[in-house]
């Protein structure tokens, strides 16, 4: 990263496998970088304060909130947005499951829900416990409905499609 001025910086981020460089104000969030500089608008801005999960993307395969991540913090890292998970010609199997289970209505929260769902599966496989995990000695956590519900609590859906969302994730990753 190079500094052009006191409060500007040049960042280079790999987004969905392609290298993207931009000269930005240091105040730019990763969400703004993705939507306004890279031009990928699948990722949505809901609350812009870390409360809703609509802006969820993956950095180095871990789910994070792009609204509370400064773009400069993503310099040199690998970002995956919903556009990198699947597309209309080749849906990710979780995207297909969302369609089968009515996991959305307006669709505003959906990109965040799917990024979150993909990442929670790898967290559970890596032994990350949740508040409903009984056995902390398990090095891999089976995703029961209760586990999925708890692990998805950071993604709100104002249309109330939660039951469909949980069913879709369970079909693909559930125990």
């Amino acid at each position: 990263m190079e500094h052009d001025g006191i409060s500007t910086a040049k960042v280079t981020v790999r987004v969905n496998g392609s290298s993207q460089s931009a000269a930005i104000d240091t105040r730019t969030s990763l969400l703004e970088l993705i939507r306004q500089h890279v031009g990928l608008t699948g990722t949505k801005r809901g609350c812009n304060q870390g409360a809703c999960g609509a802006c969820t993307v993956l950095i180095d395969d871990q789910r994070v909130l792009s609204c509370l991540t400064l773009a400069v913090q993503a310099d040199g890292r690998e970002v995956t947005t919903i556009e990198g998970i699947g597309d209309t010609t080749q849906l990710h199997r979780l995207q297909s499951a969302f369609i089968d289970h009515d996991g959305f209505q307006c669709g505003y929260c959906t990109a965040g829900q799917i990024c979150s769902g993909v990442a929670l599966a790898s967290e559970a496989a890596a032994g990350v416990p949740s508040v409903v995990t009984d056995d902390l000695h398990a090095d891999e956590v089976d995703l029961s409905l209760a586990e999925i519900r708890e692990r998805m609590s950071g993604n709100l859906c104002r249309c109330g499609a939660h039951n469909g969302i949980i069913a879709a994730i369970s079909e693909v990753y559930g125990s």
């Binding site: 240091t26 304060q49 969820t56 509370l68 990442a119 967290e123 416990p129 519900r149």
Partner: protein, 323 residues
Amino acid sequence: MREFSYAKAVDPEEAVRLAGTGARYLGGGTNLVDLMREEIETPTALIDVSGLAQGITETPGGGIEIGAATSNTAVAAHPRVRHDYPMLARAIVSGASGQLRNMATVGGNLLQRTRCAYFYDEAARCNKRSPVSGCDAREGFHRAHAVLGVSEQCIATHPSDMCVALVALDAQVDILGPAGARAVPLEQLHREPGDTPHLETVLAPAELITAVRLPQATVAANSTYRKVRDRASYAFALVSVAAALRVEDGTVSEVRIALGGVASRPWRAHLAERELLGAPATAESFRRAAETEFRAARPSRDNAFKVSLAPRVVADVLEGLIR
């Protein structure tokens, strides 16, 4: 958000060197970026310390050292933490959401600021945000506020779940500053508000948290964390309890109790612990000991329920630990 310069530190010494007047350290940014957007925090420089020590190592005494930049998720998932300090793993996963825990660092979690709505609201009076302006929480919406360690000037709660387990585990905080390195017990890191609620910790300007150390503690293997809140997930605590227990012949031989959601800082329940040592391991004596802790409580109009709720939660958690 005000303008700021940004630099990523490559080692702790460089971070401290870079931290001039107006600078703040940046961990995951989950609290600081939010507060900067509201212009409650207005740093002119951010020193990113999220790339510094990450990971958990064994210490000679059988304990562990956790680098300050380790993510909350990585701490909760670490086998040593899950096996030997289960209350810490459970406290961490009781907080925030999966996304936030991936971003949040240990150093940032320790220093996260209160969630008091008046602290966040520039239009409200808040002695923490702007000293001697008054406190709108006292007569306002304060159901979630503190009853222990409060003052006339401030009744804000320390919001961290992780810190509650850490204070029960006798954690030590390693610090590096312009004047050199030092360590303080976590229990002494946060200040009670008194007349100066804007002074929240004992850290001097530019002091950097580099690590948290947990001593070896056999009792901690039999421990847990329980959080009572308005909804089942993704909400701050009304009352939370971190506890560890050892019982011999029906008598308490070792006990740790710490409380969250009820105090101005992570609260070790020393009075309750002292009363329980050598006492019968029964729900009745657990509850009575916890009530002792709350004799000094100073509830406000709408949070007095915590004074009776907390001892019941303590009793239930300890009962669940009898084996």
